[in-house]
């Protein structure tokens, strides 16, 4: 019965339904086949990809699309590496032309040291892209006011950072994530900064709709095992959230009844 219930529990982004709530990045792997195997083990149905120049002069360089079929897995083009709105818009317009899909991840970085998003450029880009018909999943700070502005500007999903990209620090501001959760009906996906599967559990238990992970899997000592761990972590966290946790108390409550003690 419960299993049936969970099967119906879909992640819906821009009217598209997904069974997996784990989105994985495809960067930093040793090679394409390691990446493809980790993606498969993670159960992810959405992967983030970058837009870069074709290596015209080295034909032997493997292509991502030869390893991960975009007909089976949703490619989510990302603007990682863009530091202003103009670069991000150019990248996503090109991305749309490669595959013909509108669902994209907007990431406009503001500082090279911490890779924090530049929210002014991000907001500006969101407005333009929404007007051009893009469905935008937006990487952002965990600021509830900014999240609201993105929502009002036409974002399709809000993706606050847990911690700086690639830092592995886990969720640093649970309160803000909870506030954003309570204020928006848009998909809320934790993006960046997770380090281990328990971080994904926490994100899901806070009520997030999903998590996006790259470095924590790709750079784990055993990427395949970590891909599986994140898959299970996301499922466990979601089940725990839906199950509804007990209230916290400061005193002990016995699990066995006092009645009938000998």
């Amino acid at each position: 019965m419960e299993e049936v219930k969970l099967k119906k529990d879909k992640l819906i982004i821009a009217n598209k339904k997904f069974s997996s709530r784990l989105i994985v990045g495809t960067g930093k792997y040793k090679n394409m086949s390691e990446c493809a195997k980790a993606v498969k083990l993670s159960g992810a149905e959405i992967i983030t990809v970058a837009v870069r120049r074709v290596n015209i002069f080295d034909k032997k360089k493997p292509l991502l699309m030869d390893y991960i079929d975009p007909k089976k897995i949703t490619y989510l083009p990302n603007t990682a590496g863009c530091f202003n709105s103009e670069e991000a818009l150019r990248t996503l317009r090109l991305a749309r032309d490669i595959g013909g899909w509108n669902l994209v991840k907007l990431e406009v970085l503001g500082d090279k040291q911490n890779l924090f998003p530049d929210m002014i450029e991000t907001l500006k880009s969101t407005e333009v892209l929404a007007n051009e018909g893009f469905k935008i999943m937006v990487y952002c700070t965990d600021d509830p006011l900014m999240a609201k502005r993105l929502e009002n500007s036409g974002a399709s999903a809000i993706m606050p950072l847990a911690a700086p990209i690639g830092s592995g620090l886990g969720i640093q501001n649970k309160i803000n994530i909870k506030i954003i959760r309570n204020q928006t009906k848009l998909p809320l996906i934790i993006d960046a900064g997770l380090g281990q599967a328990s971080d994904a559990v926490i994100a899901m238990e806070l009520g997030c709709d999903g998590v996006l992970v790259n470095t924590a899997i790709a750079k784990a000592k055993k990427p395949y095992e970590m891909a599986l761990a994140f898959k299970n972590g996301v499922i466990a966290g979601r089940q725990s959230y839906l199950a509804g946790r007990i209230d916290r108390t400061l005193s002990g409550r016995p699990s066995s009844p006092f009645d009938g003690i000998i």
Binding site: G27, V51, V54, I56
Partner: protein, 73 residues
């Protein structure tokens, strides 16, 4: 006597290339074996419709960017 083909200079993915004059975008795609359904092409900062590649002539000093998807976060 064989007629000498005039060469023109273009910028392709950030690198200067000398190519024959009067060639079409489709010839260039063929020459570099670009998988057309897996790329997007920008000509002088404008995205071109891939259906029209056999109608577009490459001109001197054109700037071409051909991009595709790679692994990324």
């Amino acid at each position: 006597m064989k007629k000498k083909i005039k060469k023109i200079k273009i910028k392709l993915n950030g690198k200067i290339k000398l190519i024959s004059e009067n060639i079409k975008m489709s010839d260039l795609i063929k020459r570099f074996k670009i998988p057309i359904n897996k790329v997007a092409i920008e000509l002088n900062r404008e995205i071109i419709d891939k259906k029209n590649i056999n109608k577009i002539n490459i001109k001197k000093n054109d700037i071409l960017e051909i991009v595709h998807f790679i692994g990324g976060g």
